[in-house]
Symmetry: C2
Subunit: 194 residues, 2 copies
């Protein structure tokens, strides 16, 4: 009856079985399931940081439209290449496991903060208050997360074995780009009030 999807329907014994090892040997490597989860979070976060680095290098672009297109491309490339990591975090984000949930939430906040200081360098945002920069960064991050969710869902419910239908991905990516471009369009109109 079990055989569930996410991390919290994953038992110590199943992990041991998959590792080709007797259950008790698990304790030689982790004190508890929570610590395994935290290790996975760390590994996945490393993936995210690599993505951010790549995006930053491709940044400082001339036209904003190109920057958005490029960022989304990097995003979907990473999701496709590290599907397991993203799926794990997307699930654990709303998981029943409080430890994992909070770890991921705080990591997400940190991520948004870094993005905020990143975009603070852009000339258009020169005289925005820090609070407003945080708000903008959070909006970007939330939109990205929603996009990731959409990709993961489309690829899991799709017919394909591992990959998602190309049309679905194209549709999702196109919408994400539109949304980000729309937000960018609002930036010059905003009067930042601290």
């Amino acid at each position: 009856m079990d055989g569930g999807y996410g991390f919290d329907s994953l038992s110590l014994r199943r992990v041991a079985r998959a590792a080709g090892v007797v259950p008790t040997a698990f304790y030689r490597h982790f004190d508890s399931m929570d610590e395994l989860g935290l290790a996975l979070v760390e590994e996945s976060v490393a993936t995210l940081r690599a993505m951010l680095r790549e995006a930053r290098e491709g940044g400082a672009a001339a036209d904003p439209s190109g920057l958005i297109r490029r960022s989304v491309e990097i995003l979907v490339a990473h999701v496709r290449e590290h599907r397991r990591h993203f799926a794990f975090m997307a699930h654990a984000r709303a998981s029943g496991n409080a430890v994992l949930r909070h770890a991921i939430r705080s990591e997400t906040k940190l991520f948004a903060s870094e993005l905020a200081t990143d975009i603070a360098r852009l000339p258009i945002l020169r005289d925005w208050s820090t609070a407003d920069l945080q708000m903008l960064a959070a909006l970007f991050v939330d939109t990205m997360i929603a996009t990731i969710d959409a990709i993961l869902e489309a690829s899991s419910s799709g017919a394909g074995p591992e990959g998602l239908s190309p049309e679905a991905e194209t549709r999702i990516v196109a919408q994400a780009e539109k949304q980000l471009r729309l937000i960018a369009l609002a930036i010059p109109q905003w009067r930042s009030s601290p």
Copy 2:
């Protein structure tokens, strides 16, 4: 060791125990846990629909800023009043249970579609393509969902027994309003290309 949070760490036996009934009596009411979950989804969706109705009645407002403020107020009021329903859906949305996950995802899409046809009546959006309206509605819905997530997380990790710290809620609400106002600011700038 268990005692997890969400629906998928909820066993048939625990439900029966909480109902003051022997486990096998569960089957007199539901064929499986999945059906219980679907019933809960239906109930929660009814709550959402009530919220939409209320928002629609308060809609057709003169100034857009007032509309946003009012919508967010209605949102947080409903979340506070039906915390259980929102928490259930927020969790099941990324749950390990595929049946619930898909039920909620499709309900969310339907929700976004309804919002799209709703805002299509606004004069400012008169000559937007339907695809662009969907994209805008999805952006609004995703932002709302992110806000709900933030409220739920703040209220669960907070010190309070049931309620969240008022400052945290104020901060979240203020940010959500800013984000929605920012998006609204972009609307006149968008040139809709079908």
